[in-house]
């Protein structure tokens, strides 16, 4: 059932922009409303999905990786690699002293909330949480043409053979500092893109413009679910 995103306590920085791009069906999550479907037609070779209402969290500090492992996060000291978590989320290793945790696409934020709540400055562990949900907008770009589209916006070679599943690039996308991670769903390439939330509308415009020649358009979270289960052809 669709809800009104304006009634949610938190909103995606893009909720108005998404409405402009077509009829949006919203699903309420604990942290806000996520666009489940945008428009009625299936996305072509390329789909841009706003995942900004989904939970995410960062940790930084010299003992971050050991602290994450002690709390059951699947992670190794491999900067610019991501690790899939048992709950379906991702742990991105940005440096030997920094990780970014992306919640599962279901929007279940209990594990990340627990990690944040367990953190105690008096424990003396040299790591501290970063509220990435407030600082970064989160897009997913799905489709085989995604590397070609990113080539117009970004200097890093994201071709599927050169940028494997779970690779991370911290680089400039459309002149914004951004984190790009490839995390395939159901064998189909999906690139997650995280960048300054204050520039989210600008970035959405850039992505839509770049995707146009590949038949791309904005889609809802349901498309990623359909990719994962193989329902999307």
């Amino acid at each position: 059932m669709s809800v009104d995103p304006q009634n949610a306590l938190q909103r995606s920085p893009l909720y108005r922009a998404l409405a402009v791009h077509g009829a949006v069906t919203w699903t309420e999550l604990p942290g806000g409303a996520v666009a489940e479907r945008v428009g009625t037609a299936n996305a072509g070779g390329l789909a841009i999905v706003d995942l900004s209402p989904l939970p995410r969290l960062g940790f930084k500090g010299r003992e971050t990786l050991a602290a994450m492992q002690a709390r059951g996060v699947v992670v190794e000291n491999k900067p610019n690699r991501a690790f899939r978590q048992p709950d379906g989320g991702l742990c991105l290793v940005l440096a030997a002293s920094e990780v970014m945790l992306l919640g599962p696409l279901t929007g279940d934020g209990t594990r990340l909330a627990a990690l944040e709540a367990e953190w105690d400055i008096d424990a003396g562990v040299r790591t501290y949480p970063l509220p990435r949900r407030d600082s970064h907008a989160w897009f997913a770009v799905a489709g085989a043409a995604a590397p070609e589209m990113f080539a117009k916006l970004c200097g890093v070679d994201l071709r599927l053979a050169h940028f494997p599943d779970l690779a991370v690039a911290q680089t400039s996308v459309a002149r914004l500092n951004a984190v790009v991670v490839r995390a395939d769903e159901g064998g189909r390439p999906v690139f997650h893109l995280l960048a300054d939330s204050a520039a989210a509308i600008y970035l959405l415009d850039c992505l839509v413009d770049a995707a146009q020649e590949f038949g791309g358009r904005i889609a809802g979270r349901a498309l990623l679910g359909a990719l994962a289960t193989g329902e999307y052809g």
């Binding site: 900067p79 610019n80 400039s172 002149r175 500092n177």
Partner: protein, 102 residues
Amino acid sequence: MKIMVCPLNGPRNITEFVCGGDVKAVPDPAACSDAEWTDYLFIEDNIAGEVDEWWLHTPSNTWFIARRNTLTDEILATMTVADYFDSKRSAADAVAGAGGAA
């Protein structure tokens, strides 16, 4: 576009980087004179030749050291801060060791 190699992230466009100035020894602010502190903060050697500089890869907020020729603007090497100061320390130890033996 000019390419710089970040020690953490690999080759990237030069527009992703910001120069942080020469690597200089920090004087003890409690013990040094005003002139020494002013020299550290504001006065640059402006060397025409090879210099060691602080650089920042802004998307990942990674500070590192680059050796650059200021005449040709050629980047000769980039290294992590730990590697740079480890190599400086072992070079200083080698000099001290040679001095002790003489």
